[in-house]
């Protein structure tokens, strides 16, 4: 058995012989759920803001004739409108979802459909209000999580891969792809792919998201011009912000799927009450 402090976390056995351990401290549980709600509001209000000018560019300014990505509607040769996504020189028909979608039974020309935006109607002003208020919640919640994580040692214990995990990286990938999840004592720690994914999210994607958002602000650009420069200009920062949002959404989808297939009830109980079952295995039967 590898020497990992996580594996030596205290556990209790209930009357039925089931092993339990306290997986998530309160601060992390709260931070997790606040983050989930805040990210949902930020995503949907972000799509509302995007809809006001549904095109992305690289560099400092907008090259209106030549966007890197655009979600628009075009008039077909038959006179009917179609929703299209244009990426470089490629065009994709996305009628019904992107560019042209139904709102209350009526076809409307909007990049993201009303069910995906906050507010549902086209309302940039209110979308911005939601976005900037909840951006503060994201930052404050993230700061609490990171400070707690660093000073309690939880971040290191939970998210830095142990030596044996790095050595068996290939094996871990194989197990993961086969949807075989660790049981018993090994389930006390995240597997190496999980650890790296969470690290990329909390130290990479989410901070990049906040910084790219700030880089779009003309006030921040005056105060900290290096920040906008870091992203290669305001329009680049806007594109990075959009792509990072897509990656976070991808993470959430995969995360939720894995939570479901790796034991929905146990995982949810863990993130709500803190207690996670390691099962009734041979070790306890002995």
């Amino acid at each position: 058995m590898a020497a990992s402090p996580a594996l030596e976390a205290p556990e209790t056995v209930d009357r039925t012989g089931r092993r339990w351990f306290y997986r998530h401290p309160l601060v992390i549980r709260l931070a997790h759920w606040v983050n989930a709600a805040v990210l949902l509001v930020l995503l949907m209000s972000g799509l509302q803001i995007f809809n006001a000018h549904p095109a992305l560019y690289w560099g400092a300014t907008s090259t209106f004739d030549n966007p890197a990505l655009a979600i628009t509607d075009v008039q077909g040769s038959d006179g009917r409108s179609r929703g299209v996504v244009t990426i470089g020189s490629h065009t994709l028909d996305t009628t019904g979802v992107l560019g042209l979608s139904k709102q209350g039974g009526i076809e409307v020309e909007r990049a993201f459909p009303s069910w995906a935006t906050l507010p549902a109607d086209q309302d940039l002003a209110t979308g911005r209000r939601w976005h900037f208020l909840f951006a503060w919640f994201l930052v404050l919640n993230g700061a609490v999580y990171l400070l707690y994580g660093v000073f309690s040692g939880q971040l290191r214990r939970r998210l830095i891969p142990d030596g044996d995990q790095i050595r068996d990286f290939g094996g871990s990938v194989r197990e993961h792809l086969l949807l075989r999840f660790p049981e018993g004592t090994e389930a006390k720690r995240y597997n190496v792919i999980q650890k790296l994914t969470y690290l990329v999210l909390v130290l990479g994607l989410l901070p990049a998201m906040v910084l790219a958002g700030l880089a779009m602000s003309p006030g921040m650009d005056a105060a900290w011009p290096w920040l906008t420069e870091l992203f290669g200009g305001r329009q680049s920062a806007r594109s990075v912000h959009f792509i990072a949002a897509g990656l976070i959404l991808l993470f959430v989808v995969v995360h939720v799927l894995l939570v479901i297939v790796s034991g929905l009830v146990n995982n949810m109980r863990g993130m709500i009450t803190g207690w996670f079952s390691l099962g009734r295995d041979r070790e306890t039967a002995r």
């Binding site: 000018h53 906050l118 549902a120 309302d123 209000r129 779009m216 921040m220 906008t228």
Partner: protein, 319 residues
């Protein structure tokens, strides 16, 4: 079994999401909700102003980065008669009024303004909608004009009254300053939509602009309409904006008369537009006719400090 449970959970999550977000829209519609959502704006203004000083400049760019086309947005061709008459004379009769809480009210022609110290700057214009253009602006620093007029000690905000009508108040002229609720007007929801409003209203002959219109709105910047005035039944809402002294005396805050080395085109705000480079595009009032110094924004429009501010946008547009 598991599949079944999963289905229930998925449906449950979907329902919860719908309820949550429907609730969000309802919340945003209430006064308490509106107030809550505004907290973010105060926080942004507070923190951004901690990070800069009154004289911090927005970034300036090399001439090679000037955008080939500077996208005009919002009003692009004011239909107002008074404005059209000025434009027809190439703004030779134009006089910028500077009044309110000043020692000496001024009326400055373009020649007067060009005779004052000038500043030229190549800056990036960031629209609230998300796009950006770089342009070279030349104009007189607002601080120079305000120094010439001399501020009274109570003066806290500079309000910019513009020539372009965006909509009409509901009801008969002078009939209250409330929101134009129930008006049959097409109301723009963001700057880019103003053009559509112009087209629709011009087509509907419901606009003050066309020469055939029977109504000639009286200019509220004191430059009477050239035509004899038939009875006006509606009160035009023209563009207005405001900044505080923190921004008013920033060296880059100028009343610009040139864009890219040429006199400002009508579509970009001729003859004079404001540049407040540390904020978004809607603060950069076009067609500025009058600068009024005030102590409070309460009496301006609906009290938000600007046309878009009174329609939900932030007064502090640094983000």
């Amino acid at each position: 079994m598991i599949l079944h449970r999963r289905k229930i959970l998925t449906a449950g999550a979907g329902l919860m999401g719908t309820a949550l977000l429907g609730g969000c829209d309802r919340f945003a519609g209430t006064e308490a909700g509106q107030r809550t959502l505004r907290v973010g704006e105060d926080a942004n203004e507070y923190v951004q102003r901690l990070l800069m000083s009154p004289t911090t400049l927005a970034r300036e760019f090399p001439a090679s980065m000037i955008s080939p086309w500077f996208k005009p947005n919002g009003s692009i061709d004011p239909p107002d008669r008074g404005y059209r008459a000025l434009a027809a004379q190439n703004f030779s009769d134009f006089k910028l009024a500077v009044d309110g809480l000043v020692q000496t009210p001024l009326a400055l022609s373009l020649a007067d303004l060009r005779a004052l110290p000038a500043r030229t700057q190549i800056t990036r214009h960031d629209c609230v909608e998300g796009w950006s253009c770089i342009g070279q602006w030349a104009g007189v620093p607002l601080g120079e004009v305000l120094k010439k007029a001399g501020l009274k000690p109570q003066a806290r905000y500079a309000v910019f009254h513009c020539a372009d009508t965006l909509e009409y108040e509901a009801g008969p002229k002078g009939g209250g300053k409330g929101r134009a609720q129930g008006a049959s007007l097409w109301r723009p929801t963001h700057p880019g939509a103003v053009r559509e409003a112009y087209l629709q209203l011009a087509a509907a002959d419901d606009w003050g602009g066309p020469a055939t219109a029977t109504d000639a709105p009286k200019d509220d910047w004191g430059q009477g309409s050239p035509a004899p005035e038939p009875e006006e039944t509606r009160t035009p809402i023209r563009y207005y904006e405001s900044i505080d002294l923190y921004d008013a005396f920033n060296p880059q805050t100028i009343l610009a008369y040139d864009l890219n080395g040429k006199p400002l085109p009508v579509s970009n705000g001729a003859p004079l537009r404001l540049r407040v480079e540390r904020q978004l595009g809607y603060k950069q009032a076009k067609y500025v006719m009058r600068v009024e110094m005030v102590e409070s924004l309460a009496g301006i429009g609906q009290g938000g400090g600007g046309y878009w501010e009174d329609r939900g946008y932030e007064w502090y547009a640094g983000i």
